[in-house]
């Protein structure tokens, strides 16, 4: 589903990814853990197509096709979704207008017609309810005045509406209290399916109690330095990243 091969990327003169290789198969949940500055957020932005970064080597295939030359919106309609670590506030753009534009872009790309307003409202309300997103939140501009937890729930709502095949969650647990973490995790778990995969980027093991991964990777200094099962996350929680940081430095 998602194949990242020997990916090298830089921002300005600083090389951040130094040969990252990762294969994610349909239905799998991969966790990527790692210390600050390892390149976790860079990886998520590069996958989504932010143009601050320059890919110098390697490739990224989504369902067998290279996505590195695609615009961010083309990647989205191809099935890639990034849940932002810091969802952006967009004053003046109504949440419903935004959701409708996003959904219709996806439908158009699939050759489907636009939803009627009642169909669209019904769809959004159904998804929003499960994530405790009130109609008051839906009336506000995109993410404006949302708490940290509300923003993360709104990200998962967008994910549920757009039905991506690969979901990248960039530190979705940051800024969440225990209750919000549960709601968000349930929202993610509800989307797990044999033909959808997740890459969950996180600092802490806590999120992985709720979204149980199949495979855990340690990202350090721009490379995957260790891969294991869920037990690896527990080990990291106990012993920290010191061993990997030291290795990388050496």
């Amino acid at each position: 589903m998602l194949e990242i091969k020997n990916l090298h990327a830089r921002i300005g003169d600083r090389e951040i990814l130094k040969g990252l290789t990762l294969t994610v198969k349909p239905g799998e949940v991969h966790a990527i853990m790692g210390p600050n500055g390892a390149g976790k957020s860079t990886l998520s932005y590069i996958l989504a197509g932010k143009d601050d970064y320059e890919v110098t080597e390697g490739e990224v295939l989504l369902n067998g096709a290279s996505i590195l030359d695609l615009e961010p919106n083309e990647r989205s309609v191809a099935g890639l979704f990034l849940a932002f670590q810091y969802p952006i506030e967009i004053p003046g753009v109504a949440t419903m207008t935004f959701l409708k534009a996003a959904l219709n872009s996806h439908r158009k790309a699939k050759g489907e017609g636009e939803l009627t307003t009642p169909e669209f409202m019904k769809l959004v309300k159904g998804v929003a309810e499960k994530l405790n997103i009130t109609s008051d939140m839906l009336k506000r501009p995109v993410n404006v005045g949302f708490s940290g937890g509300e923003k993360k729930r709104a990200e998962i709502m967008q994910m549920a509406l757009l039905q991506p095949s690969i979901c990248i969650l960039d530190e979705t647990d940051s800024g969440l209290d225990i209750d919000a973490l549960k709601v968000v995790s349930e929202g993610v778990n509800a989307l797990r399916s044999p033909d959808r995969a997740f890459v969950v980027i996180t600092h802490y093991q806590r999120l992985l109690d709720h979204i149980v991964p199949d495979i855990v990777h340690v990202l350090s200094d721009g490379r995957i330095v260790r891969t294991g099962g869920p037990e690896l996350a527990l080990d990291l929680e106990k012993n920290g990243y010191a061993a990997y940081v030291a290795n990388a430095a050496a």
Partner: protein
């Protein structure tokens, strides 16, 4: 020997036109004297250039290539079938075609009690003392070139009066239409007085049915009486070939409420001037507008507000979106004399540059002589925020559509202040049309 500056073709045309037309323009000898004085000032100084501070960003001498002849009466059939600029506003449309009020094309049925509408030309011909007195302007306003040219050449306009306490439910819409070829020029003056406690929504639309270099010079004078509420909205919609100048003179009375909004959506060269003054205490006013520019268009908004009475509040918000090689200028000056304590004024202008060659100039000025006031001003200028754009793109929204959403959001802050829903919607429709053209 005194060096005479070289006259530009536009200045030569002006110099040839005025003496030939002055006696055939409407008005008694008193009016001619006022016109002569106004024209004399322009002739003496010539058209203003960039070294004249008020015209620093809009060098009229360089930009005004010609000054076309006065407009003829126009083709009534074409004017009659012209689609209205604002649909569904139920407004009382008063048509001013080619510089002349056309009662036969206007909606004068069932005039509300307390509302009167007359032709300025008729009033001036009849020697109406009130109308003639209204032509005598404060020196600073009278000397302004666009105003002086209006005084010299105005052919007609409307004298609108709302009686004390009259609440005029239907908006009054002044529909300015230029019709015909070749290019012609028009000058129109409106005198609007709104009595104590009265209410009026005044809409102005300015259009041309032909894509030629029509010049329009429209001046609207509004007296907002004590405790009155006036909402003034102007949609300036001429084609790129046109030159458009508007001047709004507003005197805002005690405890009155005045809002004015200018949508600068048309003309290759547009200048919107506002001369406003609080003449009574405890009044409120909002000055807002949007400018949308592409190609090589140039639009200038120049606001001069005298916060001349105690405890008055004003809000100024002007937003510009500039694409191509277009240029937008905003100059806003707020003066607070020593006696105007408790003044509260906040002026903001923001420009969104959509191309490398687009330009925005902003010059906010505060002149404060009172010591117990709150006055602020801000100016921003920048491109579309990349982070916002990336977020929209990452949800599958194509770039052109995402940019349009962000531009509309940027302008929305100002547009959403328009109280009249029909005009608000008509303007949004125009803005969306502009964005579609840009995205295509």
């Amino acid at each position: 020997m005194v060096a005479t500056p070289v006259r530009t073709p536009a200045e030569q045309a002006l110099a040839a036109r005025y003496p030939a037309e002055r006696t055939s323009l409407p008005g008694t000898a008193d009016v001619i004297a006022i016109r002569d004085a106004a024209f004399g000032g322009v002739e003496k100084s010539g058209l203003p250039h960039r070294r004249v501070e008020d015209w620093k960003y809009t060098d009229l001498r360089a930009r005004l290539k010609t000054f076309p002849p006065a407009a003829g009466s126009g083709d009534v059939a074409r004017i009659l079938i012209a689609a209205p600029a604002v649909e569904g506003d139920k407004a009382r449309r008063l048509v001013i075609a080619n510089g002349r009020y056309r009662p036969e094309l206007s909606d004068l049925e069932d005039l509300e009690h307390g509302l009167s509408v007359f032709s300025l030309a008729t009033a001036l011909e009849a020697g109406d003392a009130t109308a003639i007195a209204a032509l005598k302007l404060d020196d600073a306003i009278a000397a302004n070139t666009a105003v002086a040219l209006n005084t010299a050449f105005m052919t007609d306009g409307l004298v609108i009066a709302v009686a004390d306490g009259a609440e005029i439910g239907r908006p009054v819409e002044l529909v300015h239409i230029a019709e015909g070829e070749p290019a012609a020029s028009t000058a129109v003056r409106h005198l609007v007085t709104v009595g104590k406690g009265a209410r009026l929504t005044l809409i102005e639309t300015i259009e041309s049915l032909d894509t030629v270099a029509h010049h329009s010079n429209i001046m609207t004078m509004i007296e907002v009486g004590e405790g009155a509420k006036v909402d003034h909205i102007r949609l300036q919609l001429e084609p790129d070939e046109a030159v458009s100048m508007t001047s709004l003179v507003a005197k805002i009375g005690r405890e009155a409420n005045f809002d004015t909004f200018n949508a600068a959506l048309g003309a290759g060269l547009a200048r919107a001037q506002i001369f406003a003054e609080f003449v009574g205490r405890d009044a409120q006013a909002g000055f807002r507008g949007i400018t949308m520019l592409s190609g090589r268009r140039h639009a200038d908004t120049t606001l001069s507000l005298i916060h001349g009475a105690e405890n008055c509040q004003s809000r100024e918000l002007y937003k510009a979106v500039i694409d191509g090689e277009a240029r937008s200028a905003f100059a806003g000056r707020i003066a607070v004399p020593a006696h105007a304590q408790k003044t509260d004024a906040r002026m903001m202008t923001a420009s969104l540059l959509l191309s490398e060659e687009a330009e925005a100039d902003a010059k906010p000025e505060l002149e404060i002589f009172a010591d117990d006031v709150q006055c602020g001003h801000g100016a921003t200028c920048g491109a579309i925020d990349e982070d916002l754009l990336f977020y929209l793109l990452s949800r599958g929204i194509p770039k052109a559509e995402a940019e349009s959403m962000l531009i509309l959001a940027f302008l929305g802050e100002a547009i959403d202040e328009i109280q009249n829903q029909a005009v608000h919607d008509a303007l949004i429709h125009r803005v969306e049309g502009w964005l579609k053209t840009r995205a295509a």
